[in-house]
């Protein structure tokens, strides 16, 4: 069973239709007690405005920064976050889990 109202992708489409640049981030893999399930989305526009969540707040800041790069370059990127990773010092998952996030531009 899943909760209703998965509207991140509708927002992404609305932003794009309104002429804004958009990137979509998707959780593709999790280990341990990751806060958001595989398939969760976060959409970011060119100004850094975002909807949705990939980690319940732990690493959103880094995902948005990377997403703005992806909007600029157009090249998809795979991000990894977790306690075993160096980025944990900067933006780690407080729960001790690890996640991989795929970030792509909406063309």
């Amino acid at each position: 069973m899943r909760a209703s109202g998965d509207d991140v992708l509708l927002q992404a489409q609305a932003w794009k239709d309104a002429g804004r640049t958009v990137a979509v981030a998707t959780v593709v893999e999790t280990w341990g007690s990751a806060p958001r399930p595989v398939g969760s989305h976060l959409a970011v526009d060119g100004d850094g405005l975002f909807v949705g969540s990939v980690s319940g707040g732990c690493v959103e800041g880094d995902v948005i920064t990377e997403a703005l790069d992806v909007i600029g370059s157009g090249t998809p990127r795979m991000l990894e976050f977790g306690v075993a990773d160096e980025t944990a010092w900067r933006a780690g998952l407080s729960c001790g889990g690890r996640i991989r996030v795929y970030v792509e531009r909406l063309d």
């Binding site: 899943r2 909760a3 998965d6 399930p37």
Partner: protein, 233 residues
């Protein structure tokens, strides 16, 4: 992701149909598959299993990694009858993650004061159900005690192949209901899909207990024999 792919994805979701985005992670190459297109896809078997579970995830094939973003419609519950049980059933079903709508043409029952948070339709089922487009991801609970109202929804639910159809009433009441449905042309195998008396047999007494037994029965219908199984035809 191509805008056209996202638009197709969102259109299928809006129409309450299963849809999958396949992404080859090394190249970023993508395709959107509607439920009808899944069987002909090279990853069709894996994708069909994913739609069944409703879970997104990675698939490895010939050294390539593919991510499957799986979208299945949210399961919803349509309650026929704005009765005492429904006042407990609506919040219990929402707690379990279901979208809930309540239909009852009797305006004294379908009063917003009695259902402050619910989507309430004070109409006859025949008038509003076509607009709600019943489908295999829809559960229907018939609790009005009034065959004039219940039967309209029961006919629609049977025709739409709703994954759960529960009907309140004693065995004698249900026997009469089955006779009326046979008169509508339904066969015994269709009628066997109606769960009556409604709810898991936990000797529920109060409206809240009955509501919980109904929600539990719906969860069982969804998990044991997933509504999603038939989505691929």
């Amino acid at each position: 992701m191509r805008s056209a792919d996202l638009a197709l994805l969102n259109a299928e979701r809006a129409a309450r149909r299963a849809v999958v985005l396949v992404t080859e992670l090394a190249t970023g190459e993508q395709r959107v598959l509607t439920a009808a297109e899944v069987p002909d896809d090279p990853l069709g078997t894996e994708i069909a299993a994913r739609i069944l579970s409703g879970k997104s995830g990675l698939v490895e094939r010939n050294g390539h990694s593919f991510f499957l973003t799986v979208h299945v419609p949210p399961v919803r519950l349509i309650v026929i009858g704005a009765v005492h049980i429904s006042q407990a059933l609506a919040p219990a079903a929402r707690l379990a993650g279901l979208d809930v709508a309540i239909i009852d043409p009797r305006t004294a029952f379908a009063a917003s004061e009695r259902f402050p948070d619910a989507r309430l339709l004070a109409e006859w089922p025949d008038d509003v159900l076509p607009g709600l487009a019943l489908d295999r991801y829809t559960a229907v609970a018939l609790v009005t005690h009034d065959p004039k109202i219940d039967d309209q929804a029961l006919v629609a639910a049977l025709r739409a192949d709703c994954f759960y159809i529960g009907a309140l009433g004693s065995r004698a009441t249900h026997a009469k209901r089955l006779d009326r449905m046979r008169a509508h042309g339904f066969q015994d195998e269709d009628l066997a899909r109606i769960r009556a008396p409604i709810g898991l047999d936990i000797s529920a007494v109060s409206p809240a207990e009955i509501a919980i037994s109904i929600v539990a029965e719906i969860i069982g219908a969804m998990r044991k024999k997933p509504a999603r199984a038939e989505a691929l035809g």
